[in-house]
Structures are given as structure tokens and as C-alpha cells.
Amino acid sequence: MRHDARIPGGPIEQMWDRCRFEMKLVAPANRRKYSVIVVGSGLAGASAAASLGELGYNVACFCYQDSARRAHSIAAQGGINAAKNYQNDGDSVWRLFYDTVKGGDFRSREANVYRLAQLSLNIIDQCVAQGVPFAREYGGTLANRSFGGAQVSRTFYARGQTGQQLLLGAYQALMRQVGLGQVRLFPRTEMLDLIVIDGRARGIVTRDMTTGEIRSHLADAVVLATGGYGNVFYLSTNAKGCNATAIWRAYKRGADFGNPCFTQIHPTCIPVSGEYQSKLTLMSESLRNDGRIWVPLKKGDKRPPNEIPEEERDYFLERRYPSYGNLAPRDISSRAAKMVCDEGRGVGETGYGVYLDFSDAIRRLGRRVIEERYGNLFEMYERITGEDPYTQPMRIYPATHYTMGGLWVDYRLMSTIPGLFVAGEANFSDHGANRLGASALMQGLADGYFIIPYTVGDYLASNRLDRVSPDHPACREAETSVRRITERLLAINGRRTVDTFHRELGKIMWEYCGMARNARGLEYALSKIPELRQEFWEDVRVPGANEEVNQSLEKAGRVADFLELAELMCLDALERDESCGAHFREEHQTEDGEAIRDDERFCHVAIWQYQGPDRKPVRHVEPLEFKYVLPTVRSYK
């Protein structure tokens, strides 16, 4: 069966224990005989590579940045969830599990989510032991704050730089293994193809981004931890280099893609200011603990915010979702902001913005407390906009942030290609149709520290893996295919730069496959994207050569892949004829604009299988069963 999720039997709270017991082990002395490739050095990649190295496997870890410490996990601001219940506020593994399944709008696998909630406990312990300087109370215990979609305080944080500190913890563990010779690190090296031999993932083809050398690396198993594909929208909160190339090329080698249309639009980002804009900057969700979101009650009210009296303001999240208020989940908050802006009540020059106002909190707690909690975020806001958020409200607007979709994996994080594992944001697994705040860090580290090291070992112990040589025809074929793409891109010498194509694609995706989607728009996008792709391959200009640092060439390869992936996203969004989580189909909403799910027809994972260039991929489904958290209308009212 192509899409057997291999979910262990028995009660949910025993599944992971049972699975760990059933998995085969590799004896310590035998581990050095195996090699594993890890692509990506973010939270999932670095923690997996370090942990596999500690176990004694020979690991090679690849990243496109100049150092493993720069992966984009570093930019996560607000925090990481764990069901520690240190605040005695009624949290538990069950509650984190429940919140995550509900937050994902009943489109995730219960078994995976339960395991994630269980492992959240170990992650905090591991990170504290590594020296991650989490925020503390005066008594020396760990501090917590609240995040969207939860009524408990279970988020651990290190100022507004939680991702940075967690990543540095994983990076340091990784570098320790590098120093010991257990992990070989390949920075400034980009994976451009997957090598599949006898139906198994056996290696990757890379391009050295300094010299242009294209070569094969072989191993007994490959782990992709290459992050999400939010940059398909051009403007997103992702780093400029984030890309889908590794997972996309693996997809074309037979790794099926799960729920590609599930993309998260984060409600609180600094709005777009001009055509030259190269990326969007997130303002952490934690700000919604103390900031209140509002727009003027009247359309086109251009008065400065401080002159709009209280009774003429609409605190629309507090009004519509009284029990969660400003901490309503991301998909819901983003849509609500879009709705008031579409009504003509948006603020700022473009009208695409809402206020995030701290004046009440400053009055209540004093400026010093707010400075201590959010100082670095306020500074960042001021640096970018030139406005002081202590004296005037921030302007924010939703932006693409995270992709819940990704390569389909089973319970053991293995894709449809045996030996190819996928971890972190790159897989589709745990967040369903919407991810809750502070859960991405949790998932990346759960996958990397506590799942991959077991499941990869089980794969190695359960299968006979013959030695393969770099002269194998599959390696030659993959290298040739990579060279051909590179040569083709360099030879076009057209009139338009790569960025102009990327921006144009981004606009199509934002307009028709963004916060709200409908069949007509998606069909239009499906007709436009192939045209744009064709124009790209006829008219793009990539200067320079392969045998040098060539940032245009790097971008061109990634944009070429985005131009294909975008089409799959639209196709998936069109076929999923329901609204759920971040996937909002305008045809399916209540009178007051809430999403209407269709559990009869769509309570499943949509899994897409590649069929060759210019052929429509096949859509499979993995039915989802809910035994513990029964699907209800997801209400935060």
C-alpha cells in the first residue's frame, strides 16, 4: 500500500512507546558502518544530524548558507510550546494534543499530534541542559507566556529570539559532532537532486555554490529537513534563500506531496511599503498577549490613531471572538483582518493594515514592563518603519509565514520513497490545515531529536542495503539532469531578471491562492502559471557561469521549481472544495464569514503523485480518523 501511515495499534498514549519497542535497533558497534545524509541545518536538520552523530552513525549534513547556524529557524521569535503545566493552569499532554488537533481544523493525524505533545516535555529538558537561556522567574524557574489558540500559558521563550537560541543549541550540538569527526558539514552546498537506486533513496546530487562543482553523495538513508515553501509567494516572512528545490526534486523522483495548498498566513507582519520590497517581517504573535487589534469603525477614517476616540474604534477580534479575543488562532485572525480591510476600514497609506495597539498595556503595566517583554521587537519595528510603537500603534497586516503542507510521510517520517525521511516544516505531518503559534519549533525538534534517530535506525536495521558506487548509472543520470538544467538556464539569455518572474508568480499566488480562494480564481491561476513558466524558460536572463559564485543562477533554479509547485498548490486548493483552517474557499462560509468544513468529503490528507512533466499528477487520499478529539465546528467565540 503506497500510503500506509503505519500508525501503531493500541491506545493513543501508548502508541509511540509501542512503536519504539517494535522498531529494530542497530547495535552500537554496527552503527559506524552506516551513513546518513541530512539536508538542512535548521532545528530539524541540526538536531537530527547531531543526534544521529551521537549514536555513532556517519553523518553528512548539507546547507546552502555559509554556516549551519544561519538556517531560518533562527528567525522564530515568540516561543516553543510544551505541556509541562509549570504554571498549574490545567495544561497536560492531552490538552496540548487537543488544542493542536482542533487548531489544525481536524486535518492532521491524531497519532502524530499526540506523540508531538508527549515529546514536547523532553524537548524543553534537552534545550535547558544544552544551555538555552530561557526566560526565568525570580525564583529561578522557567517562565511561560500564552500564544494563540490556547487558554493556558505553555510557551517557553528566550526574549523575542527563541528560535535563535534553540537553533544555536542544536547547532552547538552539531558542531560538537563535527569536531569529533562524526558529522561532516557541507556549507554553501545546495541539494539539486535525489538519487534513487532500486527504489530506495541512496544519495543526493549537490552543487558547490562557491566552485559550481556538481557531484553525488551516497548514503544508506537520506533525511530532508529543508523547511517550507512559503517563498512561492515571493513576499513572505521566510529568509530570501528558503526554497522548495530539495523537496520538489524529491517529489519528481517519487516522494508524494501532502496537502500542498495548506499555507499559513500570519496575522501580524509589518505591511508592504513599496514595489521594491524584498521580504516581509513578522511581529511575533506574543505581542497579541498585550497588544489590542483594532481598525476605525467608519470607512476611510484617515485621522491619526490617537485622535480616534474609543467609541469609534472596532476591536474586531475581541468583538467576534470574545473568549480568545486578540489571541484567536492565526488563520482566523488573518481572515478577520483581511475582511475589515476589504470593507475599506484598513489603515496606513495603502489601506492594507490594522492597528496593534499597546497603549492600554503601557498604561496598565508601565513602559518598563512592555520594554522588557517586547523591547527587541519594538526596536525592530521602529527600524523598519521609522515609527515609535510606544507612542503610536503598530500597523500590521497578514503575510505568508509557514507551510503546513509538505512531503507526505508515515508515522515514522518516511516518505513514499523508502529510505527518504522528511523532518520539520518540509513534511506535511502534524499541523493539519493550520498551525498554532509556537508549535513549529516544537515539531522541528521533536522530529530531529526524538523521532528521526529511532526511525532511521529501524530502517537501516530492517533492510539489506548493498553498497553502491558513485559510478552507478543512477548517479550519472541525476548529475546529468542537474547539469542540463543549469546549462539551460544559463543559455537562455533573455530579457527579464529572475526576480521579475518570482514577483509576478507571487502576485498570482497571493491574489488567487492566498488568504481566500475560490474556484474561478484558482482556475485562472492554473491558466496563468503555465504561461508564466513558459515565458520564464524562454526569456529569463541568468548572467555569469556555473563555475563561480552565481547568486542569479541559484535563484533561477529555485524559481523554476516554484513555478511548478505553484501549479500543484492551486490544483490542490481547487480540488479541496471546502473551507478548513488556513484553506478558506469563499464558496464555503457562514453568513458571518466563518469557515464551513466538509467532513463527509474531505476528512483526509490529499496526496499528490508526480506523473511526469506536463502531466496532471494523481490525487490519492489518506483518510483521517478521529477517535479521541471528535470533529466539531471549530469555535473560538
Partner: protein, 258 residues
């Protein structure tokens, strides 16, 4: 506004480099510095020239990828700010700016404004960690850590490893970078068992990479985009000297001890 740029162009590590003059018209004051360079690069490509190469990624001032020298100052004129977060509103029409890569023997130029900072990674690999294999951690609240200590450790841990400190230092010293990591881990109770070995091994690696010594010029602190304090260097010296006194085993042996 109009900005005149003189940019260091160097094809590869062993090629000779030179400053080349460019003009960028219609610069919007709300653009970031890197967005201004994006605009320049788009125009260079359109007219058949090769774009200027520079490292950058998150553009939020946290990944540490970006950084070059603007008119002699690493990351440019705005204190506590990486070049990706520097906006053109801090410049005026007609400004003439000289952009150069970090200059240090331990940071060879890769191309144009891009340098090789892998020496920093090797310093961390030598000892910038707490050896705690996955799975062997006690409960997170088992070791209470005073709030002030956690805050001080966080101040040091905020380093983004961009290398501006090295570029600003007349000795090309990496002591602010190394000291920040030694402080971060050495301040915390979890970091105590390896505190001395860590200082010895990281200092030895730092020297082996060809970074210079500290002569208390404090340019590093002045240009650090994360306001890492000079006191971290003092803590490093304290740990290093204490470790040297207690005659720990030879540094070479410690280099690989995890």
C-alpha cells in the same frame, strides 16, 4: 534620492579586486540598504553586467549572514543594526558610500562583498557547546537559575556570528565572538563541568585561525549589531587564565574532547 556607491569587486578568492563606481537613482527612503542593492543588481543584470555578490538571508537582523563595511564602519552608521535592517532614510540625497567586505586574514574574500567565515564555526566546534547527548537531560526546572544570571547569559548568547567585531578590530581579533560564547555557557550552571576546557580549547582554536589579540580598542563593541559587551572578553580571560593555572591537560588533547 540619488546614491553614489563605490563597491569592492573581486571575482574570486585569488583574483585581484578593485573599487567600482555605481550610481543608483530614485532610491526610496523606506528601502532597506540591501533592497537598494537589489535595485542596483536588477539594473546591472538588465544591462548585461554581473550583479554584486553579498551574503544575506533572513533580512531581519538575526541570521548573521549579511554584513559589509560602509564608509569604514561595519554594518554602516546606525548603532546596533545589521546592514539588512539599515534603511535608506538614514542617508541623504547625493551621499557617496564606499562598500567593502570584512577585511581579516581569517576571513578570505569569496567574491565581492562575500567572505568565508568558517573560522567561526571551527571555534565553536572546538568547545562552544555543553556536552549533553540527546536524551540525557534532567527536568527543565531541576536546576533553578537566578533571573539575573539567565539574563546575563542571554545578553551574551544574542551574538549572531556576523563577524563585524573582527572587521572593526585593528587586530582582526575574534575575542568578542569567542568571549560571548564562553560567557554564555560559563555563566550558566549547566556549563560548569566543561568551563575550563571550553576556554582553553576555544582560545587555542581562535589563535590557530589567525585572529589577532585584543588591545582594548573596543571598536568591536561599538559596531556590534547585537550590543554584545566588552565584559565578555574579560570573562573569557578570567576563565582562560584560571584554566591555565590549574594546569589542565594539554590544549591539543582537549580540542577534540566532547
Amino acid at each position: 534620492m540619488r546614491i553614489i556607491l563605490h563597491i569592492w569587486r573581486q571575482k574570486h578568492r585569488d583574483a585581484p579586486g578593485k573599487m567600482v563606481r555605481y550610481e543608483v537613482e530614485d532610491v526610496n527612503p523606506h528601502m532597506s540598504f540591501l533592497e537598494m542593492l537589489d535595485v542596483l543588481n536588477e539594473r546591472l543584470i538588465e544591462r548585461g553586467d554581473e550583479p554584486v555578490v553579498f551574503d544575506h538571508d533572513c533580512r531581519e537582523g538575526i541570521c548573521g549572514s549579511c554584513g559589509f563595511v560602509i564608509n569604514g564602519v561595519p554594518h554602516g552608521p546606525l548603532q546596533g543594526t545589521t546592514v539588512c535592517q539599515l534603511h535608506m532614510r538614514h542617508f541623504k540625497d547625493g551621499d557617496e558610500l564606499y562598500l567593502e567586505p570584512w577585511r581579516a586574514r581569517a576571513f578570505p574574500v569569496v567574491r565581492d562583498l562575500m567572505v568565508d567565515r568558517s573560522a567561526f564555526d571551527r571555534i565553536i566546534a572546538a568547545g562552544g557547546f555543553i556536552s549533553v547527548p540527546t536524551g540525557s537531560a534532567p527536568d527543565g526546572n531541576a536546576i533553578p537559575i537566578p533571573k539575573e544570571v539567565a539574563e546575563l547569559a542571554m545578553d551574551a548568547a544574542a551574538c549572531i556570528g556576523c563577524g563585524a567585531c573582527v572587521a572593526a578590530c585593528p587586530n582582526a581579533s575574534a575575542m568578542l565572538f569567542t568571549g560571548a560564547k564562553i560567557s554564555h555557557l560559563g555563566l550558566l550552571p549547566q556549563g560548569q563541568p566543561e568551563r575550563e576546557q571550553r576556554a582553553l580549547a576555544m582560545v587555542a582554536q581562535m589563535q590557530a585561525e589567525g585572529f589577532g589579540a585584543c588591545t582594548n580598542v573596543a571598536e568591536c563593541e561599538a559596531v556590534c549589531p547585537k550590543n554584545i559587551k566588552l565584559e565578555n572578553i574579560a570573562r573569557m580571560f578570567r576563565d582562560f587564565i584560571a584554566a591555565s593555572w590549574t594546569r589542565r591537560p594539554a590544549v591539543e588533547r582537549l580540542g577534540g574532547v566532547g
